[in-house]
Symmetry: C2
Subunit: 150 residues, 2 copies
DNA sequence: ATAACACCTAAACCTGACTTTAAGTCAAGC
DNA sequence: GCTTGACTTAAAGTCAGGTTTAGGTGTTAT
């Protein structure tokens, strides 16, 4: 059993945030002894799941709904599984988008590296043709074409 | 030259957001004809960069600082480059973290898949040893050990 | 026994990124 | 000439996710 201060140290999460999570129902049925929160292994595991779901893009309210499902027992296994499958798909999509962003960042790094060397941005396009890996060239095209409808 | 409504359609960004960006100084020296904003290719490219920097985790104020650098001309090439290098490193770190989160999500998918099949969560640990790819087993260890100091 | 410290609550406050509202301008079509 | 639709502004409102504050309790070290 851990005090809120101890858990705060262990996870690097402010005490105020842990209390806020509790208030939002993220630690259902947490024990207390004379009013004081007692974090057990169950709450620590909850906290690990919270950090994971949060990082996967879920809001506090949605995480709370997951905790409610846990409280329902075995009947919610399939819903819980569906939740994690959904998060997995969402995260994979997000990572794909980040690859795109990373390609633009790399292009911009190259661009300013070149501009710095040349002293000007004039005519950088002309330097492009073969000096960059294909995935960045592709991005260059995207970045400088007229934008498409969305 | 494009109207704000046209740009909104092209980029899928609300008109109110474009005006907000303008107010925050993200389109320095944008042209106007009798009060009405005129988006040129320069503003469209700015918008592409804004979306990229935003996706890389920069705040509106930080993006504004970048736009100010652009206004300074060639003297800021190296600072601009440093900015993009920093964003690139940050994004790469973030993606590494997301890989970790993804491993936990995959583990949880497996976990509830198994629980659903077994009808209970009892004894799932025992099923673990060789049924999962190593990167998930590693995560299972992380998830069930006592947490470390941070 | 008194100070220090960790804990408690409720409620107010904060920040970032927008969005909405209210009131007005302006050009084009009927 | 008047309505319609796209534009304008400043200011207020919204939402999530906390953080801070004010006032109080309970245990421990000097």
């Amino acid at each position: 059993m851990y005090s809120i201060g101890r858990v705060s140290e262990m996870f690097g999460i402010p005490v105020s945030t842990l209390r806020y999570y509790d208030k939002e129902g993220l630690f259902p049925d947490m024990e207390r002894s004379s009013g004081i929160r007692r974090f057990s292994e169950r709450e620590l595991e909850a906290l690990r799941v919270i950090e994971c779901l949060k990082a996967s893009g879920l809001s506090i309210k949605e995480i709370r709904q997951f905790m409610d499902m846990v409280g329902e027992g075995p009947v919610s296994y399939s819903r819980r599984r569906a939740l994690f499958e959904g998060r997995r798909a969402a995260l994979e999509a997000e990572m794909a988008e980040m690859e795109r962003v990373l390609a633009m960042l790399k292009f911009k790094c190259w661009y300013y590296e070149t501009a710095e060397r040349e002293g000007t941005e004039e005519g950088i396009e002309a330097l492009l043709p073969d000096s960059l890996p294909p995935e960045i060239q592709v991005f260059y095209d995207r970045a400088h074409n007229k934008p498409k409808e969305e």
